[in-house]
Amino acid sequence: MSLKNIKNLVLVVLLGFLISACATSSRKPGQDYYTGSDTVKFLASGVPDRVFFATNRSSLHSGAKGTLNKQAAYIKSSGISVVVEGHADERGTREYNLALGERRANAVKDYLMSQGVASSKITVISYGKERPVNPESSRLAWSQNRRSVTVKSK
């Protein structure tokens, strides 16, 4: 291998690193829900107050169901009433996001009811994209904003 060829190889390898640095998220569409613990608050000790959704989806993944099971248990045992808030990220039209938030909140309500919570204990409200928890314009922030939060009724 002449010196020139070695130089070319090094150049190409460096280029290769540059290209691979632009890798995007490996998550498939329909699976970009948030799985972290930042922004998560607690209804009660060990009971997270929120679940997250994939873009444009209102379906509950298994982790979300686990959280909701805990919520259902807590609500039944404590007898409190709750308001389920539905939210959406900013990457959609405003009116559609209001409807999407409502759909997400109802998905949570339906699941809680399937776990035995009385429907009279649950009210639903949608905020669309009006109340983001993370105001930044980034994929991470958007995934944190696609959520449904359960709060104690006043």
Partner: protein, 271 residues
């Protein structure tokens, strides 16, 4: 996750191998010098109406300005036989060859510049026959007197045959069009799916100035619901007035003293 990782490594190695073998070669290739093309300037009357490429016209205009010393107005002193006739009409072969030789000898640069433009844009739309005709004219000025007398009878004779079909030659028509194009401010709000042709009749004086102008569909102007037509008609009238006096050929006044301009904005508004 591992699947995507191994795929990534596979593709990256492929890219590395591929570029290793191709990249060095690309760098070393020499620049291709395009060969010089020769152009044969054909007689304009053989071609049909050429649409106008405004951008090319601007560039041609700029070049013209640079060579101002050699420019000759289209309206030559009436004593010398007008040059337009010389190129508009198919000349007898021996004269034609002489003209072309002279032209090539004297103005090699002009020809080259035309070439360059043809390769940058494309095809016939660039050939502003008018401007090229004018350029040819310049070089032939010394020849004009000699040839004029000889070809006077010929050209007048042949000119008559041309005028049986149309009052003006294609070149002359394009000259008039070019002027009006510049003066016409098309109203931007017009709908483009309506019939919007305005016909204006002009009566001209021998020096090209407008004696009278008249909209032919006058009644349509004031009809309710034809507001667009009125707007278009007024813009056409303004165009005509702004272009007054028109630059017309020096002879054949009888042929062009009555003009009918058909303004049609459809092409421009279709956008």
């Amino acid at each position: 996750m591992y699947k995507s990782f191994s795929l990534s490594i596979l593709f990256h190695t492929f890219i590395i191998i591929f570029t290793m073998f191709t990249m060095p070669f690309v760098v070393k290739k020499p620049i291709d010098v395009p060969p010089i093309i020769e152009i044969d300037l054909i007689q304009i009357s053989d071609k049909t109406q050429l649409p106008f490429a405004p951008k090319a016209k601007e560039i041609i205009d700029k070049i013209k300005e640079k060579e101002k010393e050699r420019l000759v107005t289209k309206q030559a002193p009436p004593k010398i036989v007008p040059k337009e006739k010389l190129d508009a009409v198919p000349l007898p072969d021996n004269i034609k060859k002489k003209i072309e030789e002279k032209q090539k000898k004297q103005n090699p640069e002009e020809v080259k510049e035309k070439i360059r433009q043809s390769s940058e844009f494309e095809k016939k739309e660039l050939f502003d026959p008018n401007k090229i005709a004018a350029l040819i004219d310049k070089s032939k000025q010394e020849q004009a007197d000699i040839l004029a007398k000889k070809s006077l009878e010929i050209t007048q004779d042949q000119d008559n045959t041309v005028s049986l079909d149309k009052g003006l030659t294609i070149t002359q028509e394009d000259a008039i069009k070019a002027q009006i194009f510049k003066c016409w401010n098309i109203p931007l709000g017009l709908p483009f799916d309506e019939d919007l042709t305005v016909r204006i009749k002009l009566k001209l004086k021998p020096d090209g100035s407008i004696m009278s102008s008249e909209i032919m569909d006058h009644a349509r102007m004031n009809r309710p619901g034809q507001g667009f037509y009125k707007v278009l008609a007024e813009s056409a009238l303004r165009a005509v007035k702004l272009c007054d006096p028109l630059k017309m050929p020096t002879t054949g006044y009888n042929k062009w003293k009555d003009l009918q301009l058909n303004f049609d904005a459809k092409e421009m508004l279709k956008g």
